[in-house]
């Protein structure tokens, strides 16, 4: 399990984002790739915006204060999976 792995954003101005009526577009400046994402991905990225290194549990704790995410035991693996996916895309780095 990778519960204690810490994640941070790629760099402070790595991404330009644009909210459309049914999804959010992310333009990743260093790769030149555009990603189409839906909740909770934009919210997870917004949490990392402060530049600090977060564990999946800490990200979930922060999100739970703002949104209703259901039971933590179900939500945590989902948040972790999103972070792993974002890391593979290079939008998030392992701290």
């Amino acid at each position: 399990m990778t519960v204690h792995r810490r994640y941070c954003q790629d760099s402070p101005d790595a991404i330009a984002s644009c909210a459309l009526d049914d999804m959010v577009l992310l333009y990743h400046r260093s790769s030149g790739q555009t990603h189409m994402v839906i909740s909770p991905v934009p919210e997870i990225l917004a949490t990392l915006d402060d530049g600090a290194a977060w564990t999946a549990g800490e990200v979930l704790g922060q999100l739970a204060r703002l949104y209703d995410l259901g039971a933590a035991e179900e939500a945590l693996p989902q948040v972790e999976a999103h972070l792993v996916e974002l890391t593979a895309l290079g939008l998030v780095r392992i701290a």
């Binding site: 790769s31 593979a88 290079g90």
Partner: protein
């Protein structure tokens, strides 16, 4: 008309002031064909040019900037994929020049990502790249066997998500070539660019570029490679270069590259007959961007394979290629 027009513009950008419309059209077509348009745009810089030319050069500079950004991202991704292996990942060619901010990288067209890794680590590297999303470009058993048995690199791989190619080299010339550069020494003496990424030392950069231009290729698009060499030679110690080139068995090629770079882009040099033939081949480009002297091109195609392979093997390779309808361009 030959590509001397392009060579002069790179050597002395002030001379473009004298160009008429026909001259500009020719220069732009040649520079695009030789993949030197970005370099030309940076060399011309803010010198006054006609409005139509300004727009073309501005586009070329923006393209080159994007190329460099994407190349650096590919290098970053490869470094990340290979981070667990504890290996030096040595960037080669354009990506290395861009990552290190060398003059050879300014405006340079950068295609695939080329990296050099120790031969013993090839299998590990291959597996790590596949885990990170790269895959084989073609499933041709003959080509695959050819690469693995005789070449200096793995068969090319492409990243499925980003559509970008990587060439993984374990030495800088095919195993069939008569010169056998000391790849282990190149890796041992490589210099760090970032925490994970390395580049060859200055002398090895010249040796590699010369090997690539003169011992490996059919010289197609060679003006760009020669421009690289011209830039890489800047500030280098000739004695140290000579020692290093001999060690790699590339002394003759490096000396020829020095003469050609000086003759075309620099202060001039005394050329041998063979130098002149190579220079004619490098300059064989007309004002429409077409390659001229097709026979000379074919001779170099055969020669480049002959340099790399014993004749019987070459015959077998050409037959296999030709049966599939492959012809030199």
């Amino acid at each position: 008309m030959t590509a001397l027009l392009l060579v002069r513009a790179l050597r002395d950008p002030d001379c473009v002031a004298a160009l008429d419309a026909r001259g500009w059209n020719s220069l732009i077509a040649m520079a695009r064909a030789e993949r030197l348009i970005g370099t030309l745009a940076l060399r011309i810089g803010e010198r006054p040019v006609p409005g139509a030319v300004r727009a073309i050069l501005t586009d070329a500079r923006a393209d080159a900037e994007r190329e460099a950004r994407q190349a650096l991202w590919e290098a970053d991704r490869a470094a990340e994929a290979l981070a667990g292996l504890g290996l030096p990942v040595v960037l080669l060619k354009g990506t290395a020049y861009a990552a290190a901010g060398l003059s050879a990288g300014q405006g340079r067209f950068i295609g695939d990502l080329d990296i050099l890794v120790p031969r013993a680590a090839l299998t590990e590297v291959e597996h790590a790249l596949i885990r990170a999303g790269w895959e084989w470009v073609k499933d041709d058993p003959y080509d695959d066997a050819y690469y693995r048995q005789w070449m200096h690199e793995l068969p090319p791989m492409i990243h499925a998500g980003r559509d970008r190619m990587i060439d993984v080299h374990h030495t800088v010339l095919p195993l069939t070539a008569r010169q056998t550069p000391d790849a282990a020494a190149m890796i041992a003496d490589a210099l760090p660019i970032t925490n994970e990424l390395y580049m060859l030392c200055p002398e090895d950069r010249v040796c590699h570029a010369a090997a690539h231009l003169l011992a490996d290729g059919d010289l197609a698009g060679g003006l760009r490679n020669l421009w690289d060499i011209y830039c890489l030679l800047d500030g280098i110690d000739p004695a140290a270069l000579s020692v290093r080139a001999e060690r790699h068995g590339l002394g003759r090629h490096v000396r020829q590259a020095q003469r050609l770079a000086a003759a075309l882009y620099g202060e001039g040099a005394r050329l041998t007959l063979w130098d002149r033939i190579v220079a004619a081949r490098l300059l064989a480009r007309d004002g429409w961007g077409r390659e001229r002297r097709k026979l000379l091109g074919f001779a170099f195609y055969v020669r480049s394979h002959w340099l790399r392979m014993p004749p019987a093997m070459l015959a077998r390779h050409l037959m296999t290629k030709w049966r599939k309808g492959h012809r030199p361009v």
